[in-house]
């Protein structure tokens, strides 16, 4: 097979044979593609709705539109409330069934896979940069802006530049306490924040088998942080297990692309990876946490977000906390990404562990990740967060500092009151 996973999805969508796709879907070509789902949220949907209504056109297909009110919800202020109302009214008036409001919503990139809206072989376009998450299921998914969503509402289609691709050939298995977050931070540190600009990053090799679906979601979620258009994992037994629950079905596999389909191939030995942290103010500014010798005092820890708010992330955090208490003065905020995850965490006892250990547990929201609400940083404060960006002012004051880490490292830091990995915690005992 001479087509990458991404090209195989686009070829299937456009009804092209491998031979036809080799010319029509050559990297760099501009194409129009039918969209299975166009998603937007309380920040991006109001702009899309304004542009769409201003066009005077009708809604092409109300069933391929999804709205999730997750960023500044439950409404943080009157302006946010108005934004949500705008989306709610539009959804109601137009009979948009995939509309998720407080009570049904979750963080969009955890919710859409859970609801079976994101699925293998689908073309998923979202007005949110982390829409690339769904590549974990073998979808083509990428982020765009609001006007692009308005364009899909009008036409059902999106224009795309066919991306060239980098293949990550994964070998070995992750060690205990090392997760998908450490893998993607390692990759971003290696290739830089524009290392895959305009390209796909695709994952292959025997190492894929050992990565859980949650690991894969985390990895694809942060594809954008190295500039990638999308990230894709192959469809395998783990995908089957997931989609049997979310959609009641399994899906055909991709064919294995020849190495010649890729612009570059990078080998990664998963067993060699160590817990990794991105220092302020770029996700590429990575270091292995156990190699950090300076003492970095922590004011706040956030465990959640579209990157790491899934059940295995909470399980890792609970495993590390395990009857201990977070350091006095470290505000530890846990945010299950959806209500389903929240409930499962409750049934498994994680919520009890968190609360007894001095953390708080919030309703699903993007909230603090983008400095919206539910945990804003003051001037000079430091956070260790399982979120995806540590840009200047991302979580609050312009002179606050964010260290991106896995749930295990974030919880270890909450317990120690300073940036540390699990290993550092054991050494202190």
């Amino acid at each position: 097979m001479k087509l990458t996973f991404t090209q195989q999805i686009l070829a299937a969508k456009k009804g092209l044979s491998e031979k036809e796709a080799l010319s029509k879907l050559a990297p760099g070509n501009l194409i129009l593609v039918d969209v299975d789902t166009a998603m937007s949220n309380d920040v991006t949907a109001p702009v899309a709705i304004d542009v769409f209504e201003g066009s005077g056109c009708g809604l092409c297909n109300k069933d391929n539109i999804t709205f999730v009110l997750d960023h500044f919800t439950p409404n943080r202020d009157i302006k946010s409330a108005q934004q949500c109302k705008r989306v709610r009214d539009f959804a109601c008036k137009n009979g948009v069934k995939n509309f998720f409001d407080v009570g049904e919503m979750g963080i969009e990139h955890a919710l859409l896979p859970e609801k079976g809206i994101a699925k293998p072989w689908a073309v998923m376009i979202g007005a949110d940069s982390h829409t690339c998450t769904y590549g974990a299921l073998g979808a083509f998914s990428t982020g765009v802006g609001s006007t692009d969503i308005a364009g899909i509402m009008m036409s059902g289609k999106i224009w795309l530049k066919v991306p060239s691709a980098i293949k990550f050939n994964l070998k070995g298995k992750l060690n205990k306490g090392v997760s998908g977050k450490d893998l993607i931070l390692h990759i971003i540190g290696m290739i830089g924040v524009d290392g895959a600009l305009y390209k796909s990053i695709e994952f292959s090799g025997e190492g894929v088998d050992s990565l859980t679906m949650d690991d894969r979601f985390t990895v694809c979620n942060m594809a954008i942080e190295c500039g990638a258009k999308n990230g894709v994992f192959p469809i395998d037994e783990k995908t089957d297990e997931y989609t049997l629950v979310s959609t009641g079905k399994t899906y055909p596999r991709f064919e294995t692309p020849d190495d010649s389909a890729y612009e570059r191939i990078i080998d990664i030995d998963l067993s060699a990876l160590r817990p990794t942290v991105a220092f302020p103010h770029l996700p590429s500014n990575t270091r292995e946490v156990d190699e950090v010798n300076e003492e970095i005092k922590v004011d706040q820890v956030v465990i959640g977000s579209c990157t790491n708010g899934r059940i295995s992330d909470l399980a890792e955090a609970a495993r590390v906390l395990n009857g201990r208490h977070v350091k006095k003065g470290v505000r530890t905020i846990i945010i299950p990404a959806t209500n389903k995850i929240y409930l499962e965490a409750m049934e498994k006892g994680y919520i009890k562990t968190f609360i007894e250990g001095g953390a708080i547990v919030s309703t699903p929201t993007c909230g603090p990740c983008l400095g919206g609400h539910m945990g804003i940083l003051a001037s000079g404060e430091v956070a260790v967060a399982t979120t995806n960006r540590n840009f200047i002012g991302r979580m609050g004051a312009k002179d606050s500092y964010i260290y991106l880490a896995s749930p295990a490292t974030a919880m270890a830091s909450a317990i120690a009151g300073k940036l540390t990995g699990e290993k550092g915690l054991e050494e202190e005992k």
Partner: protein, 164 residues
């Protein structure tokens, strides 16, 4: 023809820097403009004038999908952003809302903060009038030129020009 004073920025200028997320409860260009670059360049909004030009390094506009970022720049009066490269979502958003952008690494290396620069958007020729040097950016692909010629994505769709 565009002509203006240059405000020069470095590499990887992200959307949280262009307009912090906390201000995203509105998409009014004048409101967003007030917060454009406020964390890193607090004087930008006060000094930038209608028609001025932003010149930046690689990966301009990385980060979030917020269309509010090009809207804020446009709201400040910025006429065009010339960069070594753009993050892909910012690139789409700028074209979609009618903010001119050009990728021209050579021009970026030869333009200083405060220079007066003119740009012919039809030919892609960038002239640093302060230094008396000209550079040529690669033209947009035909498909994108058509969208620009229609006046943006929405008009292109309405005019039936949205085909491949």
């Amino acid at each position: 023809m565009i002509k203006g004073r240059v405000f020069k920025f470095g590499d990887d200028i992200d959307t949280d820097v262009i307009v912090p997320a906390t201000y995203l409860s509105t998409f009014d260009p004048k409101e967003l403009a007030k917060h454009c670059m406020e964390y890193t360049h607090p004087d930008f909004y006060k000094t930038v004038k209608e028609g001025d030009i932003v010149v930046a390094g690689k990966n301009f506009g990385c980060g979030s999908s917020r269309e509010h970022a090009p809207i804020a720049l446009k709201g400040c009066g910025v006429s065009i952003v010339i960069a070594k490269s753009f993050a892909r979502i910012f690139y789409r958003n700028a074209l979609n809302i009618g903010l001119y952008i050009l990728e021209c690494p050579e021009a970026v290396d030869n333009i200083k903060d405060g220079d007066i620069v003119s740009v012919d958007v039809n030919t892609g020729v960038v002239t640093n009038e302060s230094a008396g040097k000209s550079f040529k950016a690669a033209p947009f692909p035909k498909f994108i030129q058509e969208i620009i010629a229609c006046g943006g994505l929405v008009e292109a769709i309405k005019q039936g020009k949205y085909t491949d």
